[in-house]
């Protein structure tokens, strides 16, 4: 039998874990084992898992800090909502519309990621953090100015910079529908997102990210992270691979955004603010930089915990901040590091023995 490398084994276990979790939750859901509020968490959790895994590609694998991941989610959400709503009469099948919405969301997020990447990814240093931070805030303001409606003539879009216009100025024909109402955001969205779609999106994300990591492209991306000068010296085009990682990460966030957007009938752009970006970053850091299954576990635990402990909900950001600081201190603590390595090597030896015995 072919021997699997450690990395390939981890990948397979990650897929298996997600599939098993999906089956268990689906069975529970079908048998009424989940209450309404628990069921309501399923789609957002899927979205945040995709957010965390994709952000891990930028922060953990590429090694560049991004503080505006929610901005890409926002772009994906609103472009996805517009797509799904404007196709409501053309394509009756909700799953097909949902899929198209996610593709369009991913596309627009990717384009914007590319545009941001062109000036920033050539530079060395933490410029990406600053620029993505600004991007997240700017996109929020821009969408707040957006009025979008659809009628039999097609899409009507007003960019309401002065703030003086209202949905009436869209001049929709009879039977037309307002999709995005400025500061109120998307209203009256048909919620076509589903847990199954979330599961499929997670699986696609895992295939993309994990297969990318274990390819020549992924090795190049990690080489750039670990030693840029050495990577260049072996002929790796640094800007190209930074762009590849960053745009892929943005596209996946866009798809997650579209799914998220189509899970709520009302959604304002302020949902995708700096706090959301930081929240996802916390999932990534807690799960371990570059550790994909870690991102998944951290997202599930940290998303459910505050919901479970309703009373603590208002302290959520505070708890996250404290946990983040503690983790950063302990993971960089040399004493703990050597201790962990010792543990790991012991554990690894035992495992080898077992493999030989088997």
């Amino acid at each position: 039998m072919k021997k699997l490398s450690k990395g390939a084994r981890t990948d397979l276990l990650t897929y298996a874990g997600v599939i098993i979790a999906f089956i268990i939750v689906s069975v529970l859901k079908a048998n009424g084992g989940l209450n309404r509020s628990q069921t309501g968490l399923l789609v957002p959790i899927c979205c945040y898992i995709v957010m965390a895994v994709s952000l891990n590609l930028t922060v953990g694998i590429l090694g560049d800090l991004s503080l505006g991941h929610a901005g890409f989610m926002s772009v994906g959400a609103f472009s996805g909502i517009i797509t799904a709503m404007s196709l409501a009469n053309v394509i009756p099948s909700a799953p097909v519309r949902l899929m198209l919405a996610m593709i369009v969301g991913a596309f627009f997020a990717a384009v914007i990621g590319f545009l941001i990447g062109i000036p920033v990814l050539r530079l060395t240093g933490d410029y990406l953090a600053i620029v993505t931070l600004a991007f997240g805030e700017i996109i929020k303001e821009l969408i707040t100015c957006l009025l979008v409606g659809v009628d039999s003539e097609g899409l009507h879009i007003i960019f309401n910079v002065s703030g003086s216009k209202t949905a009436n100025d869209l001049n929709l024909l009879e039977g037309g529908k307002v999709i995005i109402k400025g500061a109120q955001g998307a209203t009256g969205t048909k919620t076509i997102a589903s847990f199954t779609a979330g599961f499929i999106l997670i699986m696609i994300t895992l295939v993309i990210v994990q297969n990318l990591i274990r390819s020549r492209q992924g090795r190049a991306i990690m080489a750039v992270r670990d030693n840029r000068i050495a990577a260049e010296s072996v002929g790796i085009n640094v800007t190209k691979y930074k762009m590849m990682a960053f745009v892929t990460s943005a596209a996946l966030a866009g798809a997650a955004g579209a799914l998220f957007g189509l899970n709520y009938s009302n959604l304002a752009a302020t949902k995708f603010d700096f706090n959301t970006s930081i929240l996802v970053l916390v999932f990534v850091v807690l799960g371990g930089l570059g550790n994909i299954w870690g991102s998944i576990i951290a997202t599930v635990v940290l998303y459910i915990l505050p919901e479970a402990l309703r009373g603590f909900a208002s302290y959520r950001m505070l708890i996250y901040a404290i946990v983040l600081i503690v983790v950063m201190l302990t993971t960089n603590n040399p004493v703990l590091k050597t201790w962990r390595e010792e543990l790991r090597s012991k554990f690894g030896k035992n495992k080898n023995k077992e493999a030989k015995d088997a």
Binding site: V207, I208, N211, L212, S215, R216, Q217, G218, R219, A220, M222, A223, D226, N227, I229, A230, A231, E232, S233, V234, G235, I236, N237, V238, M244
Partner: protein, 304 residues
């Protein structure tokens, strides 16, 4: 070329007796010739692999390298020596475009590399190692060489994500070749270890293996013997000659170990304060009064 194939399909083999190496090996043996011209005679009628013409760089008024003129034959082992701070590493950084020259021209195989980036220079044929080792420490020894083979594989991002046949084929061939590069340097046993966990000498060897994996025509070694014990140095010396004889490439090395330089280099350039004070064969360098005076001092003269 079909996707998923390697640009150089021959696996390297090993250079132990009996099994002839197969990476880019030319059948005709190298004839040792007494050097009479500027380049080794066997290279004299061909374009030098490297030519520097009036190369120089200034750091805020300091002329770190000035008026550097050198030509290196296609299969020459050349040495670059000089006291600390003479500008040797700076020359490597100029040749690999880590620094942009303030003036002068670099011709690689007769072509000007002025507009190329560091990565492009590597793809054009220059590979290097670093004085202060720059490995991908947190990745495995094997992955370090696979990263060196990056441009020898040619499947795209789509093939990688969908794991098309081209991906599997290229990955399999690349792994085999990486292992062969590792076995050339006795590192195959450590293929799955983290590069950072290797002892110092092995890290230096891994850096050479990674550089060779990029299939260069000129290999730059920056103090390859630094930190090695005498037996490691002796082995390194053999390996450098083997590299040249196996791959038929040129090697330019910076080294303080005079026995290594004098034993294997065919041409030597001596640098002091950024300027060439002497170039010639080991014998010429040994007997040059300017070198003895300016660089080696009285103690050094005895060593030679």
């Amino acid at each position: 070329m079909t996707e998923g194939s390697l640009k150089n399909m021959n696996p390297p083999g090993t250079w132990e007796a009996g099994t002839p190496p197969t990476i880019k090996v030319k059948k005709d043996p190298l004839v040792p010739v007494t050097r009479t011209s500027y380049l080794p005679e066997r290279d004299a009628d061909k374009t030098p692999i490297l030519e520097c013409i009036d190369l120089g760089i200034t750091f805020g008024g300091l002329k770190a390298v000035d008026n550097f003129n050198v030509a290196i034959g296609r299969t020459e082992i050349a040495g670059l020596i000089g006291p600390n701070g003479a500008g040797k590493t700076t020359i490597f950084n100029l040749l690999t475009k880590v620094y942009q020259p303030t003036h002068g021209t670099i011709l690689l195989d007769g072509k000007d590399i002025a507009t190329m980036s560091t990565a492009q220079v590597n793809r054009a044929g220059i590979a290097r190692t670093f004085q202060n080792i720059r490995l991908f420490h947190n990745q495995t020894v094997l992955d370090n060489v696979l990263i060196g083979l990056h441009n020898e594989m040619d499947y795209g991002m789509g093939s990688a994500i969908l794991r098309l046949p081209g991906y599997w084929r290229a990955e399999r061939i690349a792994k085999e070749r990486a292992m062969e590069y590792l076995s050339l340097f006795h590192l195959d046993q450590h293929a799955m270890d983290l590069a950072g966990s290797l002892p110092y000498g092995a890290q230096r060897r891994l850096e050479i293996a990674r550089a060779l994996a990029t299939n260069p025509s000129l290999l730059l070694l920056d103090e390859p013997a630094a930190g090695m014990n005498p037996s490691e140095t002796a082995e390194l010396m053999e390996n450098i000659v083997k590299i040249r004889d196996t791959f038929h490439i040129a090697v330019l090395l910076i080294e303080h170990d005079m026995s290594l330089v004098m034993n294997i280099c065919e041409g030597i350039v001596v640098l002091n304060f950024g300027r060439i004070i002497c170039k010639g064969t080991p014998d010429e360098i040994r007997s040059n009064p300017a070198v003895i005076e300016a660089y080696l001092g009285r103690k050094g003269a005895k060593k030679l």
